[in-house]
Symmetry: C3
Subunit: 160 residues, 3 copies
């Protein structure tokens, strides 16, 4: 394994296995799709360590606190790192983060989307450092998300 | 015409003409914008064969069944293929699909966004096959969409 | 300064300073992140000339008219141009616009998202002209946006 994997061990972070979706769900797309030197990362969900979807489920503003949303966004980040590692072999192949679209399952009055998606950004910066981890980002509120997950994030990295 | 056009004929699929928007609507952007070898595809709507917007209109979870949403997402795919063909001359110039953002007009409790957007993904894989058609994807719920269309999808392909 | 800056002066347009966010807000990402020849633009908000968030706040369909939304989208465009200019030194380095995702804070029945986001597209075309300013675009309705801003836009340009 590589330097980023050492860093994950140092942080005591374990990446989840491929997502186990509810019965009957068909997902005919790639979780990570490498095109030239770009790795396109599909919308990911928070996962538990056994691969299933991680609760709490529901909406920010109604069902989850900002702190719970932050933890969910961090779990989405770990799910993304797991997918990237399986596709790339080692996370050392990530040359730089490009962008992330942070989608929060939120009610009409919620206003703290950035504080939720910080759970993802803080993880990426913690693991990759400020030079490789820096990224552009949006954090916005969705009417609903698959299986009532509280956060879904899609992203892009440059690989070598 | 090219191999992909032959494949469309084989599947008995006819691509719609440019979208006919409601009176007074101004859309000051490109439906497909080619930058270097990337074709950026604007958010597209479901169309009928005469070019107008295709119903049913409204929200998943309230007004449309998942099956109706699936058909709408397939129609969005056909609209996108029509725009790509007009811009590129032939769909054979599509070297690979990159990503798609599948946006579902959904109520707050809807949870089956992936099953809706599969109408798009299945079409792309059917027409282009698994090597060219593979793509990354997100499927999420919007509070509302233009003219109450049930699905809007933006995407990116690599061209040659 | 460059030709685009001359054009801004001709249009009597002044770009705002860096955004002043509400107290306690942490935004651990880059407003513009340049990767190779791509400048990735994070989700931006409407700003006043002193840098703070510009009202009116709230939702299209409930709190703002389409005309007010159009003005907000134009202000988001000015905020983006300000960030680009600070990152690139001069807006003459923008070789071409690539795409924009126009996110409207909208209620469930709103249908005029394109007319709102036209405030952004019209500005870009006015400032950069049709060759450099042409872009792909989506205009969609979000359940909620940070701090109840009415419009958030993320975008990408190619730089030289």
């Amino acid at each position: 394994m590589g330097k980023i994997e050492d860093r994950l061990a140092e942080l005591d972070v374990v990446l989840p296995p491929p997502v186990v979706t509810p019965p009957g769900v068909v997902l005919p797309f790639a979780f990570v799709h490498v095109v030239d030197n770009r790795a396109m990362i599909s919308g990911h969900a928070p996962q538990t360590s056994d691969g299933s979807l991680a609760g709490p489920f529901g909406k920010l503003g109604t069902d989850l606190t900002v702190e719970q949303g932050y933890v969910s966004a961090r779990l989405v980040g770990l799910s993304i790192l797991g997918s990237l590692q399986r596709e790339l072999g080692t996370l050392d192949r990530v040359h730089g983060w490009v962008k992330a679209l942070g989608m929060v399952n939120a009610d009409a009055d919620f206003t703290d989307h950035p504080a939720v998606i910080n759970g993802f950004s803080d993880l990426i910066l913690e693991v990759f450092g400020p030079d490789v981890g820096v990224h552009s980002r949006s954090a916005v509120g969705m009417a609903s998300l698959p299986w009532s997950i509280p956060v879904e994030i899609e992203a892009e990295v440059v690989v070598r």
